[in-house]
Amino acid sequence: MNWMIAAPEIFYFAAAMWFLMLSFFSKPDPRREHLSSLLLASLGVLVCLASVGAQGYLFIQAFTADIYSQVFKILLSLGLFLIIALCGNLPDIGERRIQDFYFLLFTCTLAMMLLVSAGHLLSIFVSLEVSSYSLYILVALRRNQDFGLEAGIKYFLVGTFASGVMLFGMALLYSSSGATYLSDMARLLPEMIGQPAVVIGLVLTLGGFFFKLAVFPFHFWAPDAYQGASNQVAAYIATVSKVAAVAVIARVVAHAGQESTYLVHVLVILSVASMTVGNLAAIAQKDLKRLLAFSTIAHSGYILIGILAMNPAGWTGTIFYALALLAMKFTAFLVVIELAPEGQNLQIDDLAGLHRRSPLLALALMVSLFSLAGIPPTIGFTGKFLVFVAAIERGYIALVIIAMINVVISLYYYLLAIRAAYLLEPAVELPALTPSMPIKLLAGISTGLIVAAGFFPYPFIRIAQAAAQVLLVGR
């Protein structure tokens, strides 16, 4: 066995163990812990980059390393690094728990890496559960007991329900096909995809992942969890965990769902419902994190368009979209975290006067929100464009028109936030914000990336295309 192909997983396992050991034997020191986690996370990015060419199987083929999984691992490690970069000030996490916090972050990322590499139903389920359980605790870790605990329990209850549904779906799939490996399913399922049990099994299995991605009707947890969790954890859920969900849904649908019109119909309905519900509900939000939560729900609808197209262009678009989501959600949350040094929840009105308090953050917020709305020349637009092209190639032009109407609706609430940042003046004069140099740098780079990748997307499209090749199984 070639263990090197699992180098990222081994590294993140070791990093998680490091924090576990620290919590046993050492007194917490927030500054030291932050620096060491930052160092480990950046090393993790390097490890993932170095193992991008890894290919092979481990654990009787339950673990697959291919270019698809490795690209997603880079995204995940990058996401973790970026989130940890924002953890310099963690007012919401008690000092006593700071080591547990980093332990859970690394465990969760480890589980997600296993998830994007999983090729067997069991390994998918186990890694999904490990990442979910880490997240339940991360949400509940918030010091403000009522908030965090309530959100954590809600998240947990909905999550376990979704897991149960997914297990049932997997059982149905197994009972009708006898297959537990995704590669076997890719071979067997196309002939039996017309059977109701198979379609239902597939949809229920996907339900577990839809919960992760916050697709309608599995989205109820999202606004509460975002609001209840500390800002950093909410940012983690909005970025890293979404990337993992996209990866696994695309892989499962590519393997199991080929050419199933039933499945496509279900996905179309879920996609339209997600974007519409997400966008309409977002209009009414006053809390910035809730607004971002509903916008995430809407975005899962757009991503599903790329997945349900089930063609190379669609997979490419989906992978690109995952990158886009990471970049723009991270930038938006960066502003949220910087604006709330005490870790409080931000209302949209709290953005008032931002353009004077910190022109850079205001610009970052505006660009990320326009990108979320899908206005060119931003990465968010390119992502939408790619999935729309894929959908129209398959003839789903009505779906694209509905999605575009949703884009118009979404611009309304994004503009409300931009209006607050650029037009409203605060009731009491607030001091200017002076983000630290690294944060300024991060904000500048991520804002620049959003625009640059919108104008010159081709390098990223090339990578996404290479990764998408893996999904063309059985063609």
Binding site: F381, I397, V400
Partner: protein, 496 residues
């Protein structure tokens, strides 16, 4: 279609200059307002010079697309960075250069958030320039939205009457337009089977019938409505008077002067030229909507008391003339329509620029509150009156020719609509005269009697615009010759 490569990337130089200006403005500290103004004027002046050069360097005997630049952009989707100008886009490019430069000068006296204003203004104009010169549908779409990107803040921060409402309404309407355009563009991309977003190959497949008739009809109506919203086509015009009234002066100038032309230019470039079959199918609808727009705009303008609303509604009416010209399917109709785009752009820019000067002094733009201004500030009033006369279609000024040619074409194709539209123009003349009389003649209000007339420097932008109106009015073939190089081959090449 002839494509003449450029020996120097003039078109990218225009875009590069606006982007460089944008970056330069961003780097100047916000307190140095005077420097920011000077830098803005310099960079916008350079774009004006280049666009003038292009206008006169364009080889009228050769026609086709000239100054073409072609680079690969996203090969996997067949997206290329192709720029080129023909007889349709050249006048619009020049128009943008003129309005851009005069707009910077018009806003010279503004003091609030100068840096942000000029940065956003440059971004807006970059999108406009890009759209007029791009020959790739992907880029056309991107530029369309780039020009929309800064609009909300430009109006909501620096605007006046009901600015937040106007800004929100305008932004959402225009984005709704792009929601129709994008699916149609991707649809054409697949139906042509060419795997390219390039305008010229797609146009050939539309002409030759590779894109089936029903597909052209379907795509045309989406594109027409999508771009039509921006062109102020009735009944999707309601954002326009509200938006114009709310916007700051230079933005009103760019907006009514240039941005609405993006709409009608998009209808011509993308909808009509790519889907000729769809065009002939939907032309009657276009004509009816245009005629309603002409009449509606004229009568609605009659009831307004806010100067900017008056101009806003007259824009709806005048853009109806453009739409009517586009719907006739004749060489004259297209010539007149493109000519009218240019003439109307300069004329409204002058109107908004003059109102800007007056408003900055009197702090009102309500007609009943003004009066006798021609005695207080005779020069400033003259500018407005010249533009108003042009708007009435007075011979000797640019608009006369555009309207005349369009109406001749319309009389032939749709006689009843032509008659109604001409009658509606009488109403326009009526309300313009009424506004001029109430605002500039009659008794002088005491509180305005001490106001300064426009100084020479502040008068420069208005002089430029007025001079263009007169020059083109006296010598219309300077434009018609150019437009004709594009319209005649296109109409003659239409499938029978």
């Amino acid at each position: 279609m002839h494509m003449e490569p450029a020996n120097f990337p003039y078109l990218s130089a225009i875009l590069g200059t606006t982007v460089a200006g944008l970056i330069a403005i961003m780097l100047i500290p916000a307190e140095k307002k005077e420097l920011i103004r000077r830098v803005s004027a310099t960079f916008s002046g350079i774009t004006l010079v280049i666009s003038l050069l292009l206008f006169f360097a364009y080889d009228r005997s050769m026609g086709g697309f000239q100054f073409v630049e072609d680079y690969s952009w996203i090969p996997s989707l067949g997206i290329r960075y192709i720029n080129g100008v023909d007889g349709f886009s050249l006048p619009n490019l020049l128009l943008t250069g003129i309005v851009f430069f005069t707009g910077v000068l018009t806003m010279w006296e503004m003091e609030t958030r100068v840096k942000e204003f000029y940065a956003l203004y440059f971004l807006l104009v970059t999108g406009v320039f890009g759209l007029f010169m791009s020959l790739d549908l992907f880029f056309i779409f991107v530029w369309y939205d780039v020009s929309l990107f800064p609009m909300y803040l430009l109006i909501a921060v620096w605007g006046t009457t009901r600015k937040e409402y106007g800004a929100m309404k305008l932004t959402l309407y225009l984005l709704a337009g792009s929601a129709l355009i994008l699916p149609a563009v991707i649809f054409l991309y697949f139906k042509s089977g060419l795997g390219t977003f390039g305008f010229v190959p797609l146009m050939q497949s539309g002409m030759s019938g590779t894109i089936a008739p029903w597909e052209q009809k379907f795509a045309f109506i989406l594109l027409f409505l999508g771009f039509g919203i921006l062109a102020g086509v009735w009944p999707f015009h309601t954002w326009s008077p509200v938006g114009h009234a709310a916007a700051p002066h230079a933005v009103s100038m760019v907006h009514a002067g240039v941005l609405m032309k993006i709409g009608s230019f998009g209808v011509l470039r993308v909808a009509i030229m790519l889907c000729p079959v769809g065009w002939s199918y939907w032309a009657p609808l276009m004509a009816v909507l245009a005629a309603i727009g002409i009449i509606y705009g004229a009568f609605a303008g009659l009831r307004q008391t806010d100067l900017k609303y008056v101009i806003g509604y007259s824009s709806v009416s005048h853009m109806g003339v453009v739409g009517l010209g586009l719907s006739t399917m004749t060489v004259e109709g297209l010539n007149g329509a493109v000519f009218q785009m240019f003439a109307h752009g300069i004329m409204t820019a002058l109107l908004f620029s003059s109102i800007g000067y007056i408003y900055d002094r009197t702090h009102t733009k309500m007609v009943p509150e003004l009066g006798g201004l021609s005695r207080v500030m005779p020069v400033a009033s003259t500018f407005f009156i010249v533009a108003a006369l042009a708007s009435m279609g007075l011979p000797g000024l640019a608009n006369f020719w555009g309207e005349l040619v369009v109406f001749i074409a319309a009389f032939r194709t749709y006689p009843p609509l032509g008659v109604i539209a001409v009658l509606a123009l009488v109403v326009t003349a009526l309300f313009m005269l009424r506004v001029v009389q109430r605002t500039f003649y009659g008794p002088v209000d005491e509180k305005f009697s001490k106001l300064q007339d426009v100084s020479f420097f502040l008068g420069v932008p208005r002089m430029i615009l007025a001079a263009v109106l007169v020059i083109v009015g006296l010598y219309p073939s300077i434009l018609f010759d150019v437009i004709h190089t594009a319209s005649a081959p296109f109409i003659n090449g239409l499938p029978k």
